[in-house]
Subunit: 412 residues, 2 copies
Amino acid sequence: MKQSLFFVPTLKDAPKDAEVKSHKLMSRAGLIKQVAAGIYTYLPLGYKVIQNIERIIREELEKIDASELLMPALQPSDLWKESGRWDKYGPELMRLTDRKNRDFCLGPTHEEIITQVVRDYVTSYKKLPLALYQIQTKFRDEMRPRFGLMRGREFIMKDAYTFSATNEGLDEWYKLFSKAYIDIFKRCGLDTKIVNSDVGQIGGDEADEFMVMSEVGEDNITYCDMCEYAANQEHSGLNEGDPCPICGAEVKVARGIEVGNIFKLGTKYSESMNAKFIDSNGKPQPMIMGCYGLGISRTLMASVEQHSTENGILWPKEISPFQVHIVPVNLKDEAQKDLAYEIYYDLKQKGIEVLLDDRAERAGVKFKDADLIGIPYRVVVGKDSGEGLVEFSDRFKETKQLIKKTEILDHI
Amino acid sequence: MKQSLFFVPTLKDAPKDAEVKSHKLMSRAGLIKQVAAGIYTYLPLGYKVIQNIERIIREELEKIDASELLMPALQPSDLWKESGRWDKYGPELMRLTDRKNRDFCLGPTHEEIITQVVRDYVTSYKKLPLALYQIQTKFRDEMRPRFGLMRGREFIMKDAYTFSATNEGLDEWYKLFSKAYIDIFKRCGLDTKIVNSDVGQIGGDEADEFMVMSEVGEDNITYCDMCEYAANQEHSGLNEGDPCPICGAEVKVARGIEVGNIFKLGTKYSESMNAKFIDSNGKPQPMIMGCYGLGISRTLMASVEQHSTENGILWPKEISPFQVHIVPVNLKDEAQKDLAYEIYYDLKQKGIEVLLDDRAERAGVKFKDADLIGIPYRVVVGKDSGEGLVEFSDRFKETKQLIKKTEILDHI
């Protein structure tokens, strides 16, 4: 894409209410723009990262044979009355009435809808197991929206639901999703720890959270470098430097950003909403359900929090909005202009996602924006253009070298 | 995908309230399921078609240098008060209050939000022109939701907005989008006609609608086979069989399904919302805007309406949920089972989207479902499996032949 048309409105200063690094950087780099408290527009650069995260999720969930569907945001109250949550859910649930005065809510989660979908079709054990997921906008009227995308009122989630005939079937899905989550977060450049957690308003028998260690998380987590599992400090009672009970390694304490959670729902919804199947003995049984949430907009935010300095972002390769950033120093110089466009079209044709800074800005402005935006490979087209030489930076390795235009692909 | 896990819940009978062919077929083929009046879940097969339409839109809009972003569904009333539409918009606008009693609406369209995005960043003619679009769920509280996805209350749209410094700039975008729309609909298997229309609640100077001729449209359209443009019958005053005023061809009359609309907004929103830029003479001017809607869920519905019989769908190739449907007659026969799975994994590995009917159902049920689902190429694995022969159907050409398993790719 050409930067002049792609709309990357970088800012010198972050909005005054931006407290944490990721929120400041995402505003300054032109990734998001606030519309109201906890409600954001994803600008083109930010939305490209969101779409990359979504692609990774789809790829990993296809591997475990989960199918994608899309449920509505508007949910009629009668389904929530069936499950008993219409009265129990607090003011976080956004409610509204339609023109005929019927009650609806904006879904913060979709247990009721998915149970309605599956109960009407699946009547026999022969049609189980089943794993369904969606990538969708969710709504939750937070008391105190804050930290940018961390605690928003409208946010993007992947939510999945499994239906099994037996508890062992549920255990299997639970393990498959847990493994898929670790792979997804790894591809997004995030190290996560699994923390056993409360079931909360979703309900059910068992739940785990996927946490990214960070300065800006909301819980104190005790963990060590050796184990996949970690614990809330209030539960573990451990302190920084203690030996870890499982492996003997040293305990660390950090705050955790919850980027995913998985729940063994059991029969909570299938009992209350009468989602039954006929088992192999001909007897009706409630389906055994699991649910699996993953915060997509929050994953974006956690990634920026982890992979950045105060001056800019450095995107993990798989979610970077572009792979290569071409920055011509002076577009009025014909040799520079020609070479920049030549490289741009050449890389594009080879399937590389490339951003060309074709703006009529001073070189200093362009470099500062490039640092802020954080694309991992940078090609500076400057005074050596006449000889077909460009300055190639690998921002991960922190290397910079003069190379021939034909050598760029070898370095990516 | 394996059909047993992909969740394609076909039905013998359509819901009682389904009046039109597409609504009946989409329910019976397991593409959609109603949640409330005008509100649907897109089941996996239906959502795959939606995603194919979205992919085509993204490809065609990238060609004209439009950039994708994502705006929120929740819109604060203050922006709608700025534009003057908070009071003017009727009961179709779904309104709600948050926990602090602030007014919001659920966006049926996003002129206010996009104007807020652009006015805060674009201050000079040097940053224009600009074309931004999103693919998003919209809300409109229709008095009488009907015809399945045709007139829904929650639906999927692509909406684009352009910002120009001059009227000529707007004209250029208008032509580019018009051309892109024709290409998009063609790739979706739809012939469209362009009808000059009222500007309605969106406002502005000029508007065109893209119509698919069909039995179930909502307006009477006069058109001919030679011209890209058509007209509402009440405006044209023409009748079936009249010579067409422009080209002399015979006038036809049909009902039209509106799948897209484009508007020259002019300065309606930039004036009221103070979206100004400094022109090349140093003077502040309101930006000149265009807006371009495309109904994605409605395009799906129009496509089913056009490409189907009472017994089933026949998907246009570019939006078909799968390219090949493998139907083994009897999975208990080892030779059939082995060959079906061998072909399945082989085609998958070659990047072909393939659905394997691995369900323990009778052959008659499988064939009936396959007719209903409408995947264009079908491979029946039956009694000749021992010799590596399968029955290959090209449902477009209405041909059926016994071929070797190695020849399948040549026929696609």
